[in-house]
Symmetry: C2
Subunit: 326 residues, 2 copies
């Protein structure tokens, strides 16, 4: 969809009345036959647009695709989402966002895809990404902080997603699983993968990748017991543009506050309240070792705080946390 087509769609989407070809032609500085061409392109893209002689054009329904024209009117952000790069199919939105960031794309730019051919989770794992159902997007950030603070962003964005889910589906009870997942009824609904390019004192850019299972009506057999979707949990379809916009609307003020702070201290009560691991016995799998303990909280630096079997308090900055059967 080219820029003018997208702008015309946005104009139609934000006006409940019929808009005449003359008005659109005037506003966009194009001929009336050019307006008609853009309307046809939109219809080809699945948009239902009424056209009545003497009245003009009116948008019937959106397609529910997370494109700029559908997301932008719902945004309440200063910097996030001003540029939204939409792809029917992407290899992975993080991969495309890293390339854009390397070319200088501004903070707040978004890459979103309807499906991913090479969607990835943490540590090189696959993220199953079927088309047209779920939300896969990446946000480019340029925080002026030492690289050591960047892992905190994973938890911060989990808070934003948690709040967005609460706003849209208050009947759900999602929990945040340190460091980067959101689960509902013990099954994974959402994952976050932050990647960065940095030097020790200076973060060049961060790409925050987010995958949320939205309208997927069944899970592949091998994932059925460990993954779920909003549709499966709430029984109702969810608008992906609305979910995307709500996550960004929740995240921008949290991010701005975090930039002013030295750590996650300001959001720890929220994180600990909704932490799935709080007070649980866990095993942390790291590359060369396992650590056992009871989770006593999350540290301001974003580390998981454990009391180990010797009653010592230790901080875990990375690894995979698994609940232990007691």
């Amino acid at each position: 969809m080219n820029d003018i087509t997208s702008l015309i769609l946005t104009r139609l989407a934000t006006d409940p009345h019929f808009l005449s070809g003359e008005i659109l032609s005037h506003e966009f500085g194009i001929t009336r036959s050019a307006v008609w061409k853009h309307i046809r392109l939109l219809r080809n893209d699945g948009y239902q647009i009424e056209a009545i002689t003497g009245k003009g054009y009116r948008l019937g329904a959106m397609t529910g695709r997370p494109i700029q024209a559908e997301v932008q009117p719902l945004l309440n952000c200063q910097r996030f989402g001003n540029q939204l790069h939409y792809h029917r199919v992407a290899t992975s939105t993080n991969l495309l966002a890293k390339a854009l960031a390397g070319e200088g794309a501004p903070e707040g730019s978004i890459v979103v895809a309807d499906s991913q051919s090479a969607g990835r989770g943490r540590m090189g794992r696959t993220w199953v990404s079927p088309p047209d159902l779920n939300l896969y997007f990446s946000l480019i950030l340029r925080p002026a902080v030492p690289s050591i603070r960047v892992p905190q962003l994973t938890l911060l964005v989990a808070v934003a997603i948690h709040r967005a889910l609460h706003a849209l589906s208050p009947e759900l009870a999602p929990m945040i699983k340190w460091p980067n997942d959101i689960l509902v009824n013990g099954k994974k609904l959402c994952g976050v993968l932050c990647e960065m390019q940095s030097e020790p004192d200076l973060t060049h850019f961060v790409v925050v990748g987010i995958g949320i299972n939205v309208n997927q009506h069944e899970m592949p057999a091998e994932l059925e017991k460990i993954a779920t979707s909003l549709l499966l949990e709430s029984g109702k379809q969810c608008s992906r543009p609305e979910l995307l916009a709500t996550v960004l609307n929740q995240f921008e003020p949290l991010y701005n506050e975090w930039l002013l702070q030295n750590d996650l201290g300001f959001i720890l009560p929220y994180l600990e309240k909704y932490s799935m691991l709080q007070s649980k016995r866990v095993t942390i799998d790291q590359r060369n070792q396992h650590v056992n303990g009871i989770v006593t909280g999350i540290a301001p630096g974003g580390e998981l705080q454990l009391q180990n079997d010797d009653s010592a308090i230790i901080l875990i900055s990375s690894g995979e946390a698994n609940l232990r059967k007691t």
Copy 2:
């Protein structure tokens, strides 16, 4: 220089005898007139090669440029330097190395340049890079460690450079200035800039950029009081290929050991012995604040350890350290 030219140069460089055109033609599977073409290319590149009818070819002198053919014979490494990408002029070797790493270049690959048009130091500062005198190179690493450990590499590579300098110019007394410089007589001789691409649990790659002032016989007026070169300090020319190879030879075993360890503990005594800031009163300039204290050491995680004015011990993980006049 193409691959066969470079291989022929290496062959000549590692044999003190005359090598006949017939032998070279046989060894490289090319015609004798092709051998002659490569010899001419090498002469055009500045290599003095004797050619005596009936005896063959013998290399007179190397050019002292840090190219594969001059560095490789001096290397004693398993992985470092197997691929050496030489440029007469680069924008910055870190920039080229990051691009190569993103394309999958193996660990140990080197980018080296005779001059940089956009050489950079920490935090976006310029690194003055005049041609043909100094050493500017970047090493690609792929350590399987969490990103939080990567800043330790800056200090580790400083140890390797310090040892290399000691091996080549034992009369100098270089000191390591936390976190990333090497100074002689209080003036900067060398800087290290590590950049990485990572996710919290997984480091995708690190580019270790190293700039050493080698044979620069005078410093620009504005740098005269704060920067120096090996030539200015020792009074003698230093071979750049030898220096590059020595740094790599020193660094590879340190790096292998660091991968097996959890931190810098194994090298702390060396770091503290040659730390310019040890026991000094310093001010640390960070983005939003200054921290004052007396340096009591370096922590295993690579942080600078200070005793502040309230006698509390604090760890500094990033920032600029300046000596305070007492």
